[in-house]
Amino acid sequence: MRGVMSDPLRIADRELSSRLILGTGGFANHELLAQACRAAEAELCTVALRRLDPAARGSILDVLDEAGVSVLPNTAGCYTARDAVTTAQLAREAFETDWIKLEVIGDDRTLLPDAVELVAAAEELVDDGFTVLPYTTDDPVLARRLEDVGCVAVMPLGSPIGSGMGICNPYNLSIIIERAGVPVILDAGVGTASDAALAMELGCDAVLCASAISRAHDPVAMARAVALGVQAGRLAGGAGRIPRRRYAQASTPEEGVPAFDVQGLSQ
């Protein structure tokens, strides 16, 4: 048991003991984010870039520093490979890291990835020296293509970003996990702790969770719950579940059941 829980997550040249990556979008304020970071025991948090707001007070980077977490910049909001590459380069400059969570979106209602632009951007960024973690659909072929171009992990969705619909296609996710040679991080769709547990039971290496925590009624409690869900799922996945069967199988031995119904007496 100890082996499973202390086994660090290895991505590229980095080791992480926490398998929950916290998305920092949607928190009502920095204080709540800081508390959620601690409750989640996160080591890595995503951050984004937007046009500088001269009225903004306090940098999120100071909050994350204080919480002792590293940043994983994203390219959220990019619709073309070109924009994603430029955003990644800005992120490298702003955050002094070559790690990038690559998002290239194809549609503003579903926020689903644009597969063609995504692979093109991933290839260009890998060539440019980036450590690329792409947000992808649950398509096993696309996941393999992303691995083939040099991505250090794949981040399939469970369901659309912010939908809270959980893992809509656990079968596809399982195929990605079985065939991937890089870590698989469930990204998007987690609605509550049990979704994170299921992802880990299926064999995901980690879970990224943003909205389910930041938009929960009590984000700090949910951060803790999702962290425990990740740990429970990891432990359960390693423990090996029993096979599903259609009929019951008694857990109490059937041998030696005493007989009370002596014929004639009970009538």
Partner: protein
């Protein structure tokens, strides 16, 4: 010269550089989590002061925010 900074038209004096824009936005040049693109190309912090703008330049100055 007339330039565009984060989508807004701005008028800057001759000889303006990327650093002038950063100053205009009241950003400490050492501020963390800030990056600049000039006409779609990233300008590294060390080159802000010696990268000149020209008429019609498009400057994007971005900063860290929370995001998934």
């Amino acid at each position: 010269m007339n330039v565009t900074v984060n989508g807004e038209p701005r008028e800057l004096g001759d000889g303006a550089t990327v650093a002038s824009v950063v100053e205009l936005l009241d950003v400490n040049p050492g501020a963390r989590g800030v990056a600049v693109a000039l006409d779609g190309e990233v300008v590294s912090r060390g080159r802000w002061a010696d990268t000149p703008l020209s008429e019609g330049s498009m400057v994007e100055v971005v900063a860290a925010i929370g995001g998934g």
